[in-house]
Symmetry: D3
């Protein structure tokens, strides 16, 4: 029944929780994650612009805001499943895509269909905006796992998520915004006193070394 | 790390909730659903036995208790996705299966491996026990959707789930236990005073008629 | 401690719930509300653009995304209080503003301060983007109250919120996007079968009449 | 609609949670806080009486039971806001007061109005009962923050609240009941084995020293 | 470890929920119930005093505040069990009593023991204060069940609780405060528009008639 | 109203939470506990069978699945109460039994009554299946308390529950499945890195020594 269905569907994203099936001190809905990713992307874009790079803000906001909308159709599938089997991954991506297309054709009036096909497609491409989205998505995931680790969550899964997030961020280490994150933000995150602080710092150093990033954490000084 | 990992994994099923992304008055974990399905299967098996059919109780309990264990690996995938695309469905089933096998080989000592390969495989086969599981799984789903409908849940999804559950149960209408359900249990369920009672009764009649089941609901008398 | 504090603060918005102290079937965090408002604003902006109006997308996204960020400092103050006393309202707005400024000066490096002073200030101004924000904020509030009303919430507060939201939206009835909302979206919202449907339709008609909007609901046909 | 509205409003205090916007292991409603403060005040009053001071029990119970009732009108405003600006604080107190008065005039029959004006006004005055309320309110807040600290809450806010609570309690160090708290209760609270035990003890000693209270904690012996 | 243990135990009452094992739209902790009962008792006592009866306020507050404290030892036992078997009921009461005594002897210094033995014993005796407690306890239970009924809870249990509460209140129909409740408060409660309004009014009339109370509900006029 | 009432009652077990009144990081419903106990019993039975003992699987599953069903009638009574007074314990057991019998007679058709009388009676007898149930019940309780201890729960209650669980398991130390638990599962549970690991290992050793069990934990090697 048109745009009413689309507006109503936004509320479903408040009821899909990330990383189901594991004990967590804090739950995060997909709607909340999308909000935080867009805010982080906004900051990273600002760094890029201040360093002289041209940012297409309209594209950046669209990518960040909509990047997990398709979870409305396909729900929350555990990461190990998603990535266990490259064929399955492709097929799931394909199903997501076709369900999204079907939804747009059914609910959106024709005048908006092509705009929303563009908006709701996969945004993590090779443009600056696509790369900022890739980084922002992982920055929020890193903060989510950090929140669990610093409260003493005994599930090793969260250390693995932290590692995987930092590792992915480092694949974009040439970007000005990633360098800013590594030199100005990460050291503050690791500086606090919390359960597992030393362990987390060690892990972070190892990953940075792996990527041949020379990082002098403020805490060394 | 062996059976400890297996025991610990049981608790993960307490944290996977059924039917994510939709407003519900009550949440049900996969562990709770598995408990209820086993209890329902126990009753249906008793009816079959009392009607003179031989029940392999060991097989029935194993099937019911374990039928959703693989959700530990693959999480909760929305039904429309699961069934939208037969190829995807097969591939997901295949991934579930291979992840289950991998888990058994990694965590279970050799002496238990073949037993657990048998226990954790798909149980909905053509044996009497497999058919009882198919019915019991849908009876619990029917009660879950009924619980939402009678509290006034405005999502039409729950009416669809109710319909689909009853429809599947009726595919087994030759079974003594299904006949018992239709004549002795369903009428009581529909008899109470609740929001949408009349609507639900109408829907139920239509499905029964569709399956050419003559059903005199107690309420008619 | 810089941008780390800013990133961490985003998570606080996941823990501030809207409309405290009243029974609700569904809770909505400020983070979730901000996400939905931005998505709604995106659609309304698209309607404006399709009707030939020029939209400054960067400004629109900034306004929508950040419009409730200051709740981090001041928390959730009940609406009747906020508006009961114009002096208090001004003073609260002033405190919000000065706390926001203080936070930016303390946590943001100088190069980003003026950008974030601009971003975090009140966005509901007389520009097209400011007006879209005013409407989008109320559209989400209208959906929140609608969600309670259709589930049978006995608190009359939610009918009042529905009325107040629709009334505010109608103050912008000259806008192309508001006309779209009134003719294409609102009728679908009121069309469904739910508790209090007739009542809600009556209320909506009365408000529309008040604003001298001729509205033929699809349901009349 | 009279006293029915008043009775119904009591339930709203079950839905206002203290200290919103921060991660907590345990939530406390205003109703629960009010119960605990009244119980603590009862004990502190008993100490005063046993030490020879005259306690007006009727006044003490009225003050403790009702001390946060006005949060029904004004909701939960973050402490830093409340105290950031003395003018604002006064104005908020004024609004609370006038909303309370308005409520009493509207809902209470005339015969009860003056009694409830007296009961619902600010109770923290210079009488013994007013001072016991001030202490009891902070003792419960100290236990709330202690509950977070001993579970490992990484938010430094809870250490600040602990400090601020103890500091306020010590402003009443001449009272017999405060001396009892310092010598008989606080040492037991600090004695247990928990995360951050040593840190909390150090903080407590520093505050006591600041107030020139000689305190030999049982743990020293 | 003394009074610290007592203060800490107050928080346990925040974690014992009333009426476990049944679907409810709203949960109420024993701490919240105790708060509300004390507030209701305060009002009922005020009515008695205004009608010329002498109220021992200290006794009334002590009874109301502490009336469910023993649930800390014995937890939440389902009402049908409690009352099914008079012998069991006596034995449970006896266990509660002896556990309470044991706790007081173990945790309270001698100087406070007799005071707390008095405070924590069963308060529902034949004094005016004891009778006010009996009524106030049922008034809150009546509001709890009313809250479920008006939201459409399909469990008939809540209608039974409503009936049993009103029935018990009517056993005290000679009291001025009960007459006030029946003529001034109950009619307002029944007046609103809500699911099951007519049904609830009918039930209430029947119980009143049973007790030979002539009640003209405001709604008749 | 017959089997419908029985099926509906299963859902009540989803709403009775174990160990009420104490702070816990994770809640477990009776339905979830019953599921896990049945799964653990299944594994322990498999060990017994592999060691050459004959297992009556039908009996084992019936005992495990139904062992806490009677909590539907009697709710969750705190363990200290249950065991404080042997007379009370017997009387509570008697009440449970008679309520269960009454329910069966009222809701079950005659043809199923004797079967369900058998199924719902106390299952912890001296048969191999009864002993496996006793052990499985405590293994799940041990995992529940372990889950709290490793997350840093400051309540000493959970250490006491851990101890009591292990102590009870050791009363069955002659059983093949208990020996398997002690040599193959418990060492893995204690091996991980978590808060209180050393303490828990020490406690476990002391209990094992008490029962004269020589246990070489893998961690020693």
């Amino acid at each position: 029944m048109g745009i009413h269905e689309y507006f109503k569907s936004l509320s479903d994203l408040e009821k899909i929780y990330r990383c189901p099936g594991k004990f967590k001190y804090e739950e995060h809905s997909v709607a909340e994650h999308s909000f935080k990713v867009t805010k982080v992307a906004q900051f990273l874009g600002t760094v890029e612009e201040n360093r002289g790079n041209k940012v297409n803000w309209k594209a950046l906001y669209e990518k960040a805001l909509n990047h997990d909308y398709a979870e409305i159709f396909i729900g929350d599938i555990k990461t190990p499943v998603k990535y266990a089997d490259p064929d399955l991954r492709d097929r799931l991506a394909h199903v997501e895509e076709s369900m999204t297309q079907h939804f747009i054709q059914q609910e959106f009036p024709e005048e908006f269909q092509s705009i929303y096909h563009e908006r709701l497609k996969e945004g993590k491409d090779d443009t600056l905006e696509g790369k900022i989205l890739s980084v922002a998505d992982k920055v929020d995931l890193l903060y989510e796992s950090f929140g669990e680790i610093q409260k003493g969550n005994p599930e090793s899964l969260f250390t693995e998520i932290y590692q995987e997030s930092l590792d992915t961020i480092l694949k974009f280490k040439e970007m000005a915004s990633v360098q800013y994150f590594l030199t100005e933000i990460l050291p503050d995150l690791l500086k606090g006193e919390f359960t597992n602080q030393a362990e987390l710092e060690k892990i972070s150093r190892a990953i940075l070394k792996n990527h041949e990033v020379e990082q002098t954490f403020a805490i060394d000084e």
